[in-house]
């Protein structure tokens, strides 16, 4: 079989596989890719070794398919990973208004717009300008993280203090949510210090050591909330048109491109932060732009960070997908870059086309079964996944993460504060005083 067909079939296979997996709540594509990496390494040197022509396109397809379709469990089943955090609230509002299909399709359209932006605008400029940017910014990554943390904490709105006479009582009522947000950030940061310094997870699955904490912080609280609140999902309508014009697309691309671009380029700045920045750069009064912007941001974060590994002259490793493929393969020259760009284009088209049938199928599922039961099943799948990959220790970490992740739910503060798990320890490490803090904590 010629290389063309091998690459084409591999990218199609990877995209279809991850598109289907993306519909399963709690499962992250990086978990599956991690298992694949172990398999490929295991087969190396045997008669069944898998060549780069197969796994590079397949993994590209997996990242693209995931970036496009993980909106389905986030919005329709209420089990987001952190990158989809900002899509969930407006997305679930759409669901509760009988417009869940429209919400997911708007995000997918954002993803497609992000693909066009990445391939037609970013990709041609990247080899020329990104190495320059990297040389300028390489000593400054740490303060960018601190600045993002500062903005994240300072931009939260106090939810209480809405009634009663002026004074300290009103002030305290307002600041309860903000203090809960700060506590969430610090507790998540503490958990992060422990997991990144002395992870109790077995070393054979060390690359998954943060996964149970993420599941606990982000996905499980949402499932529990869905089960407890037992909201009845109204009958869903399949919209014939998304009511989107060129202006909406362009404005989504500019806000999502900025947020997703920052998340893709700067280390540890994840899709959730990208989504927050995209939200702040958006005209908030138009929810279509907000939702589409989140789709753009998510796509650029996942796929853009993966693409950076292949940019000639840059070869920057950002994001879990790139780190995993780097253990198997070292990209070289223009040929690899064009191969990956081609794979991204094909995968984006396929995954966008799969969005509608998969969203309809999930809506059918929700319609047929009680939403509380669907959420319960989602929770069981998530817990089983954590247990399977990281064992009982992982499950314990997930429970600890859930405790922290429930704080924002109980106090109405911002859930993004849970990202302190990565932001705080890594920012401290990058600024050079991480070891002092782990010393205080008795970890080193």
């Amino acid at each position: 079989m010629s290389s063309f067909w091998i690459v084409l079939l591999s990218v199609i296979g990877g995209t279809v596989l991850s598109s289907l997996l993306a519909c399963l709540p709690g499962l992250h594509v990086y978990n599956v890719m991690g298992a694949l990496v172990l398999l490929i390494l295991g087969l190396e040197g045997t008669a069944y070794s898998i060549p780069a022509d197969v796994f590079v396109p397949a993994m590209t397809g997996m990242v693209v398919g995931w970036a496009m379709l993980n909106t389905i469990p986030s919005v329709l089943l209420g089990t987001p990973d952190e990158s989809a955090l900002f899509t969930v609230l407006p997305g679930q509002k759409y669901l509760m208004a009988g417009r869940g299909y429209e919400g997911t399709m708007l995000t997918a359209l954002g993803g497609l717009a992000g693909a066009f932006f990445l391939i037609l605008v970013v990709a041609p400029c990247a080899p020329r300008y990104l190495p320059v940017a990297q040389q300028v910014l390489k000593g400054h990554m740490h303060w960018v993280l601190w600045v993002i943390i500062t903005f994240m904490l300072m931009s939260e709105w106090p939810k209480g203090g809405n009634r009663g006479p002026a004074g300290w009582a009103k002030f305290y009522d307002a600041w309860k949510t903000l203090l809960a947000g700060l506590a969430t950030f610090l507790l998540a940061g503490l958990l992060g210090f422990i997991l990144l310094t002395r992870s109790p997870v077995d070393h054979t699955v060390a690359f998954q050591n943060i996964m149970p904490a993420f599941v606990g912080l982000f996905a499980i609280p949402w499932c529990l909330l869905n089960i407890i609140s037992a909201a009845d999902v109204p009958k869903q309508f399949i919209a014939k048109s998304l009511d989107v014009n060129g202006d909406v697309i362009l404005r989504s691309v500019w806000s999502g491109g900025l947020g997703g671009g920052i998340a893709a380029y700067f280390p540890i700045v994840t899709g959730g932060v990208g989504g927050m920045l995209a939200g702040h750069a958006t005209a908030q009064r138009d929810e279509r732009i907000f939702i589409m912007g989140q789709g753009v941001s998510k796509f650029i974060y996942y796929v853009g960070s993966f693409m950076l590994l292949f940019v000639p002259g840059l070869y920057l490793t950002r994001g879990g997908g790139a780190w995993m493929i780097k253990t198997l393969y070292t990209p070289r020259g223009d040929a690899d870059y064009f191969l990956v760009l081609g794979c991204i284009s094909i995968a984006a088209a396929i995954s966008y086309l799969m969005m509608s049938p998969l969203a309809r199928a999930t809506l059918w599922l929700i319609d047929r079964f009680n939403y509380r039961h669907v959420s319960s099943v989602a929770l069981v799948i998530i817990l089983a996944m954590v247990l399977l990959v990281t064992g009982w220790v992982g499950l314990f970490i997930a429970i600890v993460g859930t405790g922290i992740g429930l704080l924002p739910v109980l106090f109405g503060s911002r859930r993004l504060n849970c990202l302190g798990i990565l932001l705080l320890p890594i920012a401290c490490n990058m600024s050079g005083f991480g070891e002092t803090i782990t010393g205080w904590l008795g970890l080193t």
Partner: protein
């Protein structure tokens, strides 16, 4: 302007200090953190501190169990009468109506100076994203109406809308012609948006840090704080509402230049983007041993002019057959609603 735009402007201004870049290269992020924090601080002081201590003369608190628009109209008319009769500044608080964890009853207030009335109408139930819940639009068809004792002059032609989180404060200031001037959020940009406050905070920092980091840390921190705080005030001055620039030496807000509304998408995005470009340029200048070299003009062409032209052409092409009407609000109204929406 939006919080994010102010924040990025603050970081950009901080990057002009060579000491900030030098410290950052040695792993010390303090000046950039100060820059961003002071860039957003004037709004933080208003929206997260001062408003909770702002006393009101009249509180309009509708009962969620018995929603009565006439009660709201009567209370507003009472506040107007107080301001007109007693010839003093009256602070009126329109309290929001929470119906559930994520639901709020919206109501709108409109002053009609020809009929000399105030009308109040309950609108739809909205969620915390300010999206109306379907089927609740016409639950309360009754309109509350009360006569006004004086004309209420608004600086912009809009209804007062009360929905999520905290309701707005309205100031009623007596005028020489016997009417009243309506000030939306009088506690906003009252003293916090002053260049003098930035200088004061800078001095405070310098007094503390001189004992920790010596003289250089003191004056460098002073310059960073005063400049980054000041850029917020200057940016807000481009809008309509203006700021009280030299508090306590000045008492009233100096009107803005009317170049933009604080919620406008394009000026906000441009501010963020230009800030990113300026930060990049300053980092480039401070980076030792660069192998790539470019001029400021080159950077502006590549990062602003060329993409801007492409964007403009694309926008023209994509919107040939459509016209989009953008509702213009007031600076305070924009900031109030968008900060609530963005910060949730």
């Amino acid at each position: 302007m939006k919080g994010f735009s102010h924040f990025m402007s603050g970081v950009a201004v901080a990057s002009f200090g060579p000491w900030a870049i030098e410290a950052a290269l040695q792993g010390n992020p303090i000046y950039f953190i100060l820059g961003g924090a002071c860039g957003i601080l004037p709004d933080t002081l208003d929206f997260k501190f001062y408003r909770f201590f702002y006393e009101h003369d009249v509180y309009v608190t509708p009962d969620p169990a018995h929603l009565d628009p006439q009660y709201v109209a009567d209370e507003i008319a009472r506040a107007v009468a107080m301001a007109a009769d007693e010839k003093r500044y009256i602070r009126l608080k329109l309290v929001s109506i929470r119906l559930g964890a994520d639901f709020w009853q919206q109501y709108k207030v409109q002053f009609d100076n020809e009929k000399m009335t105030v009308t109040v109408k309950f609108g739809p139930v909205v969620n915390t994203g300010q999206v109306p819940v379907r089927g609740t639009e016409n639950r309360y068809p009754a309109v509350g109406c009360a006569p006004l004792k004086a004309k209420v002059v608004q600086t912009y032609d809009a209804q007062l809308r009360v929905d999520i989180f905290d309701g707005p404060t309205v100031g009623l200031a007596p005028r020489e012609d016997g009417g009243l001037e309506l000030e939306f959020l009088p506690w906003h940009r009252e003293w916090s948006h002053a260049l003098t406050v930035g200088i004061f905070l800078g001095i405070l920092w310098a007094l503390i840090s001189v004992f920790i980091g010596g003289w250089s840390m003191a004056w460098q921190g002073f310059v960073t704080i005063a400049a980054c705080y000041g850029v917020h005030v200057v940016e807000d001055q481009l809008g309509h509402m203006g700021s009280n620039l030299f508090y306590p030496f000045s008492k009233n807000r100096t009107p803005g230049l009317h170049w933009m509304h604080s919620g406008d998408g394009l000026p906000n995005f441009l501010t963020v983007w230009i800030s990113c470009i300026l930060i990049f340029w300053n980092l480039y200048r401070g980076q030792p041993a660069m192998t790539y070299h470019f001029t400021f003009l080159h950077l502006i062409m590549v990062s602003l002019v060329v993409p801007g032209v492409i964007f403009w052409v694309l926008r023209k092409l994509l919107n040939r057959a459509t016209t989009e009407e953008v509702m213009k609000g007031d600076d305070a109204d924009d900031e109030w609603n968008e900060m609530k929406a963005a910060g949730s």
